[in-house]
């Protein structure tokens, strides 16, 4: 993978990469893509994807819960770990200039 591709991928991934990191990552990504590229050689004509092992466990299906509110108001505890808060709200940089 070239530098531009890595930079684009980093953007999509929401990761800042230092210029010094890019060369190494490019090399590692190429090696990993070579490994996972082996999948292309397999004939999967007519095979459905299996997104979830539960789909194969025929006797059971994914359970659903009743659509009702069970949570109590935990605003304070839930916000206790936030890096920046203001009057009960998460503080972030200005989104619209």
């Amino acid at each position: 993978m070239n530098t531009e591709e890595i930079k684009h991928l980093a953007k999509l991934s929401g990761l800042e990469l230092h210029p010094a990191e890019i060369a190494l990552i490019s090399e590692e990504m190429s090696a990993i893509l070579f490994l996972v590229g082996k999948l292309q050689a397999v004939d999967t004509t007519g095979v459905d994807p299996l997104f979830h092992p539960i789909a194969l466990i025929e006797e059971l299906s994914q359970p659903f819960r009743i659509d009702q509110v069970t949570e109590t108001d935990l605003r304070d505890v839930n916000m206790a770990c936030a890096p920046a808060v203001h009057e009960g709200l998460f503080l972030v940089p200005k989104v619209i200039e």
Binding site: L15, L35, P49, P53, I57
Partner: protein, 508 residues
């Protein structure tokens, strides 16, 4: 007393007979944790809370309200969130994170459930991504058998804690081998249950179609006791299956076939499938011999071995390393420095705040997997990588079902070799991925799988035997493992950090 050498049943008896109370046991293990701090097995210990829990457990025991696990200490992998102990998942991005709630596994084992006392949180590869514990942001855990070697990963801290006698038993999680491989590397018994059997509520997510929690302990019976406490549907986890609770001890000590009354052949009727792909050229000779000897021991107990084939075994590596990173890239997008976790101190705008916070908070392997996952899910590559991997996953899962027409369980090695030395493989990510070859497929298929000790290398490192069962056959797998442990001493071998020295481990 050598409380650290006792299994859960022995500790339970000691507590019930009043030879020791939970306060005594808890302070004993806290003391060992502090003495063997250099192993770096624990990331957070809060002695006062542990001792307070022990006092409450003692009260329960005195009032006759105790169960089989009440008052026994346990260590939790740092991937389970806890209210008192910090929950970092081995990552800097969660360096100071304390959860507003306890994970279901922690809750079910704790005072409101089974009555166990938590000793704290164990070290792990960052976000459970790794096979050596070298990816922890807090430094690697050392293997108690040889401090120059890795304990395995990602549940390496839990494995080392039990192997060094810092905890009688521990919880772990397994996405591609993270319970079984460290159990093998540290000489423990570890069980990854069927997908959906144990609640993942409060388990920090890595790859949600693969992750599962389970016990890591001294023997199969100890694991059964923990399974009794943690398995079962949890309304808080929509991927936990609605299946009746069961007693995982119910088959222990009983013959494989009900009608069998041959005392020396209790496993008569058991068919063990031996996949030829699990004994390919990459397998270390000593591991091969140890696994083959274990199979002979099972034959001695009445089982028969059947040759089977899992033709896509080698492809499980690329399949896993597409699917797990894809799910990780999505799961880890929640770390944005807004609601919790690390936020960079220096940024010009919102986008840079996200990107820089993540860049500072994540380690190299996590970044690699996020990038790979993003790539295989991106436009133009989705069909070729992600969808193709999901199709091969179905073939892998179907291959297992085909073998289960011919056998009851599968057996083979857990890992191609024994625990390696630090830095030996860490410079090449692909080299590290190849070490996972025997453990990935059961996760892809959602099958239960376990590791039990079956030998020792000339380098004095333990070797693990893998047992893979069909869906929800954990109780049967534990029965089989227990018989092996009745007939052999490998699980009683002790790391040099435990005294007195071990027996020779020969099959009796």
């Amino acid at each position: 007393m050598n409380w650290h050498l006792q299994n859960l049943t022995q500790l339970q008896n000691s507590l019930q007979q009043g030879l020791i109370d939970s306060v005594g046991l808890t302070s004993f293990f806290l003391e060992r944790i502090s003495q063997l701090k250099h192993l770096n097995a624990f990331l957070d210990v809060q002695p006062e809370t542990s001792m307070a829990q022990a006092r409450q457990a003692d009260l329960l025991i005195r009032e006759g309200k105790g169960g089989p696990l009440t008052g026994i200490p346990i260590a939790h992998k740092d991937v389970f969130v806890t209210k008192v102990w910090k929950s970092t998942a081995g990552s800097k991005i969660l360096a100071n994170y304390t959860s507003p709630f306890d994970a279901t596994v922690v809750e079910r084992l704790g005072l409101d459930g089974a009555g166990m006392v938590s000793l704290g949180k164990t070290n792990m590869d960052e976000f459970a991504m790794g096979s050596s514990n070298e990816n922890s942001a807090y430094g690697p855990t050392l293997n108690p058998w040889n401090l120059e070697r890795v304990p395995g990963g990602s549940s390496g801290g839990s494995a080392a804690a039990v192997a060094a006698g810092l905890a009688p038993i521990a919880t772990g999680t397994d996405t591609g081998g993270s319970i079984r491989q460290p159990a093998a590397f540290c000489g423990l018994t570890g069980l990854k249950p069927s997908y959906g059997r144990v609640s993942r509520y409060g388990m920090i997510a890595y790859a949600s179609s693969l992750d599962q929690a389970g016990p890591m302990g001294k023997n199969a019976k100890d694991c059964s006791l923990i399974m009794n406490a943690i398995a079962g549907h949890d309304p808080k986890d929509s991927s936990s299956l609605e299946k009746d609770n069961e007693d995982y001890c119910r088959h222990l000590g009983k013959p494989w076939l009900d009608k069998n009354n041959l005392v020396d052949k209790p496993l008569q009727g058991l068919r063990i499938g031996v996949p030829k792909e699990y004994f390919s050229d990459g397998l270390d000779g000593e591991v091969r011999t140890a696994v083959e000897n274990a199979l002979r021991a099972f034959e001695g107990l009445g089982a028969v071995c059947v040759d089977v084939s899992l033709p896509k075994t080698e492809l499980s590596i690329p399949t896993y390393y597409v699917l797990a990173p894809a799910e990780a890239s999505s799961n880890l997008s929640r770390y944005d420095g807004v609601r919790y976790g690390h936020r960079s101190a220096d940024y010009k705008n919102l986008a840079q705040m996200y990107e820089r916070s993540r860049a500072e908070g994540f380690g190299a392997e996590v970044k690699r997997r996020i990038l790979i996952g993003t790539y295989v899910l991106s436009q133009g590559y989705y069909d070729a990588y992600y969808l193709q991997a999901q199709k091969i996953r179905r073939i892998i899962a179907q291959d297992f079902q085909n073998t289960f027409l011919e056998c009851d369980v599968l057996m083979g090695p857990v890992a191609p070799g024994v625990a390696w030395k630090f830095s030996e493989k860490s410079s090449d990510p692909v080299q590290m991925y190849l070490e996972d070859i025997y453990t990935l497929s059961p996760n892809l298929a959602g099958l239960p799988a376990m590791s039990i000790p079956c030998g020792c290398s000339t380098s004095k490192m333990p070797i693990g035997l893998q047992i893979i069962g069909n869906y929800f056959s954990e109780a049967r797998m534990l029965q089989i493992a227990d018989y092996f442990q009745q007939a052999s001493n490998w699980h009683l071998q002790q790391s040099p950090l435990l005294a007195p020295p071990a027996s020779n481990g020969e099959v009796s």
